[in-house]
Amino acid sequence: MSASTFKLTLHIWRQKQRGARGEMKQYELDGVSGDMSFLEMLDVLNEKLITEKHPDGPVAFDHDCREGICGMCGVVVNGEAHGPQAGTTCCQLHMRTFEHGEHELWIEPWRADAFPVLKDLIVDRTAFDRIIQAGGYVSVHTGSAPDGNAIPIGKNEAELSMDAAACIGCGACVAACPNASAMLFTSAKVAQLALLPQGQPERFTRVKKMVAQMEKEGFGYCTNHKECEAVCPKEISVQFITQLNRDLLRASVRRD
């Protein structure tokens, strides 16, 4: 528990709407407590901008669960997606991280052609949904499932599959990648399903379709920078990218 408070200088990307020109604006904020979450700090700033009738109005940012699970939040803080703390979404980042050190923060939206800015810090991430729509599922109708224990799955495979499935679809991987590639996101879903017996029948068509959609959306290629893994709040491993590439190669020599 930190009792003292501190003062911050904030530089925040302000943009009225999609396609409009944006710019960094500066705001001073006093009374920041280390126990505040990063988003609570933005709440306090917004409350101030509203009560002071600041002409810029409150800062728009996406958020919902504030528990690090829905994947709705996401901003770049001082050049790092979700800020400096490893394995942490910006809703779970706490201001104590900034208590000792630079009291100046640069806050920007995800930057990628496939994620156009809608307003201030909010971007359009529906490209991710379309990648899943291209094949990120098992084609099974409601009601047609066999008993849950009919197919045994080894504990290790289940655990590894769960490691991949933990992705929250926030887009930090894209924001951090110099090529704005969506490879970590795509590979996590490909790998989750490829690791399970349920995912086998569509394994190779799935990987082809999802990668094709990823390219169509304007995401860049993966050239092994591994920045994605470093910023991923769920610490998804780049080994899944290796696995995707292996499956993609195998898919290219198959005839289905």
Partner: protein, 648 residues
Amino acid sequence: MTLDAKIPDGPIEKKWDNARFQMKLVNPANKRKHRVIVVGSGLAGGAAAASLGELGYNVDCFCYQDSPRRAHSIAAQGGINAAKNYQNDGDSVWRLFYDTVKGGDYRSREANVYRLAQLSVNIIDQCVAQGVPFAREYGGVLANRSFGGAQVSRTFYCRGQTGQQLLLGAYQALARQIAVGQVRMFPRSEMLDLVVVDGAARGIITRDMVSGKIEAHAADCVLLCTGGYGNIFYLSTNAKGCNVTASYRAFKRGALFANPCYTQIHPTCIPVHGEYQSKLTLMSESLRNDGRVWVPKEGVDPATKPTKIPEEQRDYYLERIYPAFGNLVPRDVASRAAKRMCDDGRGVGPTVGDQPRLGVYLDFADAISRLGEDKIRERYGNLFHMYERITAENPYHTPMRIYPAVHYTMGGLWVDYQLQSNLAGLFVGGEANFSDHGANRLGASALMQGLADGYFVLPYTVGNYLGATKLEAVETSHAAFGDALKDVEAKIDRLLEPEKKGKGTRSVDDFHRELGTQVMWEHCGMARNKEGLEKALERIPELREEFWSTVRVTGSAGSLNQQLEKAGRVADFLEFAEVMCLDALVRAESCGGHFREESQTPEGEAKRDDENFCHVAAWEFTGVGEKPTEHREALEFEHVKLTQRSYK
């Protein structure tokens, strides 16, 4: 109005079979002539939209998030119940049914609950087939754990992220239907009104949250799967966007609202740490399987470091008061016990504002010495991690601090056995309806109900309605849509008006905070009494007046405007709060999560009054600020004997 639950004939085990057999079917060629609206994309809405799409209906699905994958179901941590009896420990459909009725403190409908228990087994199969990575044993079979209030191990889980994985399963099924054009998805869209034509729900009005455009959508029926209203308390474990607006606007159009006072307070949340706090974080109650709850005994300074307090100075009060269930007593019982400890001045942790210390310890030291730190990390690693992020304390070395917080609302729109409201063509699923949990929900049952409704109930009952009802074609050009559009636009103008006139002085959050923490939590929270509720009923209309004359909503209607979104939701909370308090006032008994101080046993436990309150209270809207009309559906218990709940 008489409330007919339309419970099918026959013995309880056969009711759902009988109901399905009697249902009208829609032939495949006709299915594609129907359009169905689904509002909400969580477990109930996402599963229903996907399943209806698979059947061949045209589905329009709406959510306020930027993607259907983010609905608040995602935040459920602990698990999902199913009567599989894989552990051979005596579980059965009957036992799950019995536990749920008893856990709900005998305020739910037997027939609905039995169906829920029956369907629980199909859900697991369905999710496994979708590739949900449930925890497994070394032999490859599904793993189980026991969970809050149950003496058998029937809970299936994916680490501490079960809700996330089940939702992603439903989301992927939905994505498959979107890809083939069977479902049209409308993300960042908020439902602002229900359109009723000739007494039947025929469409909705939405606001596109990016462009601000108000739009009308017509269909043959409408499914609301829009979650609960816990955010009325401002601080709750709900996602920030959760709201009552869709349900409440349906209520204003004639749908009855049942048992609004039934709210669940979850015992294991991280305590409030500051005045700027925006939400509360839940720690899965699976933690209670291995953690022991305690406070310092009387006379010990509560500020002492917990690790410095010797064993004999600790009061493991749950184990002491409830020896049979100990730390695993149901949520309402555990929450009230924690409140009693803190009210007695034995709470721990920091003080915020002028409140007493509001926290109790949840200690893993015993479990760690018994099982080793690795085992505990494997079970709860992500939860411990989250706790440390928020509090900067390491729960492997010092006990966690927890306190109850609003988590779930059992009340919701009234529905019959078919999950249809009193308004024809309006179906309600998941937390948004009132039907299965009575006055208290058991742990790991929300996911079960959401998916049962979405995958296995609504696809049948919606089909039955469409097959059995002759519906005139209705387009959005119909006058009812025009009227609803005008209402919605007028309301938005009204929200912007004070600021335009230079009278806007208070932010939306400021109103919300006062309503939630000073009125609702204070008077309609963990414990309620007549005097407090009457006070709340006086204060709410005043606060509402102030809101409409001084709320400061900046920005315009025709753009992305988060203040405006919030203002609309808070405006509805300010009306709905009265219905909730009134229901709490009229229900003069204690039951489940509804604790009336006037109705308790000498030991301070909830005391039901079956003679006067063994019914569902369903409220009918009569005008803003007017007293709604109460309708009652009597509850009959043929299979579970009404007894005072005891966990001693």
